[in-house]
């Protein structure tokens, strides 16, 4: 069978300044719900009510999704580092220092970090 050509989208299709849809607004709301359950040090400083465009939504979505993964990765690290045996356990909250200093994340994750540029 012949290879079928798939037309590429127009270059004009990209519009990060497009106003956010109700779907993205919902996604932001859900992530905000999740963010509130994160320890303070993982939370963003983004004011979600001021998000108007897809680029702004993307920046927030990225921050919270990374923070959720980071919080779980840090917890797994602490779990692995915890000494085994009787009396050797430390409370989880004291096991390791927070990864974030001065509002910036210290790269410890094995995951490749991707940045979101705002236009």
């Amino acid at each position: 069978m012949a290879v079928i050509h798939v037309p590429r989208p127009s270059r004009k299709a990209m519009n990060p300044h497009r106003p956010i849809s109700s779907l993205l607004l919902t996604q932001i709301g859900h992530l905000q719900h999740a963010e509130r359950r994160l320890p303070l040090r993982y939370r963003t400083k983004i004011y979600t009510h001021a998000i108007r465009t897809e680029a702004e939504a993307a920046a927030y979505i990225y921050e919270v999704t990374e923070a959720i993964h980071q919080a779980h990765a840090d917890a797994a690290d602490r779990r692995a580092a915890r000494p085994k045996g009787k009396g050797g356990r430390k409370p989880v909250a004291q096991a390791r220092k927070p990864k974030r200093k001065g509002g910036k994340k210290v790269a410890t994750s094995k995951k490749k970090k991707r940045s979101t540029k705002k236009k």
Partner: protein, 408 residues
């Protein structure tokens, strides 16, 4: 037992956004009259009383702005034509009226009837004609995205008909939890596009089981290495954004995102599986849309057995409670596998509860703790031991070698 079923090891579901069957695949009626698409007889009244016909004038972007309303009250109007009397019957006569409500522009409201020509969508229409297309796959709820996607993950929306976060109520578990907790252990993953697009299944799974998630980039690698999990659920890119890798165009096809970007994405997923011969022989790929997005479809959604939940009149916004006893509007759905006969048209009724229903039945067998809706939903792949094995779509004795390829 059919050879394809014996070889099947992976089920992959790609769920796109907000397009109806008639809008995307309705043009195929003239190519194959077994496909229940658009005909000359179809009409919808506008607010002046004039009859509006479906027309093949859909555009890739810029036409459905504002985003057509697809929340519960709007879909009620679309399905029942504005009739709220007791004993009312669905007639699919309220789509133009519903769209008019958003902009008050009669001419613009008629665009909700537009559909794509076959040549506009070479990927979706080719796959529909080459593999199995479902004439009766409906959204699970006549409502928006989140509650419909919940049915794909949990087999229920836990009583929600809206977009708010929901709580998981025992005993129902996500299909992913069921699989990874099984003995013997099964594997499952939700591949979201990237962390900047993330998932629409945020509050529950991502918060509690982030290990279930991977990116689309990982999906591509897993395909190449032949290490896809038993069950994969792929989410498209939900927003336009930039990364270090360049511009990332939203490819979910949600209005007003570019439809061609979605075509390209579907082709990439298909080709990545196909390029690994072992994976291609052992994978079934379902391409399906979460809901119709307020866009016209002519098939009346059927009634169905109720769920264990009731949405109150206040929550539905219609003044009437909803017992989850009617499906949502019809959406495009295509099952792809080299073990499916070319030109298969399926007329049985499915909805998104069929997804966890099928995956559970195929990989886990009997599993009681499921919602009434899921237990009643038909399955699109019968396990080899099923007495209904003759319903199987992967029915060929030898693998096809004539499957299409795309230049992606």
């Amino acid at each position: 037992m059919p050879t394809g079923l014996d070889k099947l090891q992976h089920i992959v579901v790609l769920m796109m956004e907000n397009r109806s069957f008639d809008h995307m695949l309705g043009s195929l009626q003239v190519v194959d009259n077994r496909i229940d698409g658009v005909t000359d007889q179809l009409r919808n009244p506008d607010t002046t009383g004039a009859e509006v016909k479906p027309q093949p004038l859909a555009e890739f972007q810029g036409q459905l702005n504002p985003d057509p309303d697809h929340h519960f009250p709007a879909v009620d109007l679309q399905i029942f034509g504005g009739n709220t009397a007791p004993g009312r019957q669905p007639n699919m006569q309220g789509f133009v009226k519903s769209y008019f409500n958003q902009r008050g522009d009669v001419k613009h409201s008629q665009k909700i009837m537009y559909y794509f020509q076959q040549q506009d969508l070479p990927v979706l229409t080719t796959l529909a004609l080459e593999f199995a297309v479902f004439n009766r796959w409906f959204a699970s709820i006549p409502g928006p995205t989140i509650c419909n996607r919940a049915f794909a993950h949990y087999g229920t929306s836990f009583g929600r008909v809206d977009m708010s976060p929901f709580d998981i109520l025992e005993p129902y578990k996500s299909i992913y939890t069921r699989l990874v907790n099984a003995t013997p252990k099964r594997t499952a993953k939700v591949y979201y596009y990237d962390t900047t697009s993330s998932t629409m299944e945020v509050v529950n799974l991502l918060q509690n089981q982030p290990e279930l998630f991977g990116t689309y980039e990982q999906f591509l690698r897993d395909c190449d290495q032949g290490i896809l999990p038993d069950y994969s659920f792929i989410e498209p890119n939900y927003n336009d954004h930039e990364t270090d890798g360049g511009e990332q165009l939203a490819n979910d096809q949600h209005p007003d995102h570019d439809v061609q970007a979605g075509e390209l994405f579907i082709a990439e997923v298909y080709m990545r599986i196909k390029r690994n011969p072992k994976l291609w022989a052992s994978t079934a790929l379902l391409i399906v849309y979460d809901e119709h997005g307020g866009i016209y479809d002519h098939v009346v959604p059927p009634a169905c057995p109720p769920d264990n939940f009731t949405a109150s009149a206040n929550n539905t916004g219609t003044g009437m409670e909803f017992k989850f006893d009617r499906l949502g509007v019809r959406v495009p759905a295509i099952l792809v596998s080299p073990w499916i006969s070319k030109g298969t048209v399926v007329n049985r009724v499915f909805d998104h509860a069929s997804i966890p229903g099928t995956v559970t039945k195929f990989f886990l067998g009997d599993y009681a703790a499921r919602s009434p809706r899921e237990l009643n939903a038909d399955v699109f792949i019968e396990p080899p031991s099923s007495p209904r094995a003759d319903c199987n779509l992967l029915s060929l004795d030898s693998m096809r070698t004539d499957c299409p390829e795309f230049d992606v």
